[in-house]
Symmetry: C2
Subunit: 181 residues, 2 copies
């Protein structure tokens, strides 16, 4: 591990929230902002990981737990390699996010709750998944027939109703700059 | 992906060979040499991964296949993040190494066979595993009661009997410098 104090040391920024809440969009904008500063940054996006590392996993509770476990372990390897890792993953269960957190030393794990009401997510429905979940075509869908456990003590809560993506990214950057370890 | 031509672009250097053949030692020396050049380098060591990402896997054929699949997928993510990834993994089956190779574009995957005779590995036995495998205390041990399929067309074969680690690392660096993509 690099022990130099740099403006941003390697760490994981964990975005949790409902499907359609805006995690991927915020992750991409944040990655762009960090890369523009010359910082090695990489996004681990739940949807993308399901096409590779996690392609053997479904959406049962056990598979969701394993999905999050592997993602957290890969994030740990990448942080160890010196990268700022942005995780964009529904990660609906408190205990799984807690598992991820304890893999990292204090200050290296920032949990950010992308707070978008389910009604808004259903209205957006960018992938048409809520429509299928509401008719029962898709089972175990977070927020419909599977739980989403709202973070109780995240480092940051982003209100996607009041602010656009750029403003939310600025909030994240401000938070990181005041807490950099 | 970074499209700049750098002396070494991100890629995976895949070290395969028997337990005790010298993979981890060579990986560490190679990583040091690359890091000394300021290149972002990271080792994915099979033994280390079994304490984290792959801790749910055993040594059955199915678990070995899954072990290699995950390692290859993580290597792909890290290469995509701009890192030179050194994999040190017994990876005994040709088809699994072939699976790993096809995840990468031409020239981004370098397979290196660490060629150490099994008699020498048994004699070294740095972790005492061969002794246990020979008495049957450990089952499915590569080279004893599980196969090791020698690479038929690796990019490089390293002879650990004739050369020390530094000389072998120089051979790898020479190979990479002549084939850099």
């Amino acid at each position: 591990m690099n022990s130099n104090k740099t403006p941003f040391s390697s760490k994981v920024i964990w975005l949790t929230g409902l499907s359609g809440s805006g995690k991927s969009t915020i992750a991409q904008e944040l990655a762009k902002a960090l890369q523009d500063q010359g910082l090695p940054t990489y996004i681990l996006d739940g949807d993308v990981l399901r096409t590779g590392l996690n392609q053997d996993l479904g959406f049962s509770e056990a598979d969701r737990i394993e999905n999050i476990r592997r993602t957290a372990q890969v994030a740990r390897l990448m942080v160890d390699a010196g990268i700022i890792v942005i995780v964009a993953l529904i990660s609906p269960y408190i205990r799984d996010r807690q598992f991820a957190r304890q893999l990292f030393t204090e200050g290296r794990f920032t949990e950010i709750y992308i707070n978008t009401p389910i009604e808004v997510c259903i209205q957006r429905d960018p992938k048409g998944l809520y429509a299928k979940a509401l008719t029962g075509e898709i089972k175990n869908f977070t927020g419909i027939d599977a739980p989403y456990e709202v973070p109780t003590k995240p480092e940051l809560i982003l209100d996607t109703q009041k602010h656009n993506a750029q403003e939310l990214v600025d909030q994240i950057l401000n938070y990181l700059s005041t807490t950099n370890t």
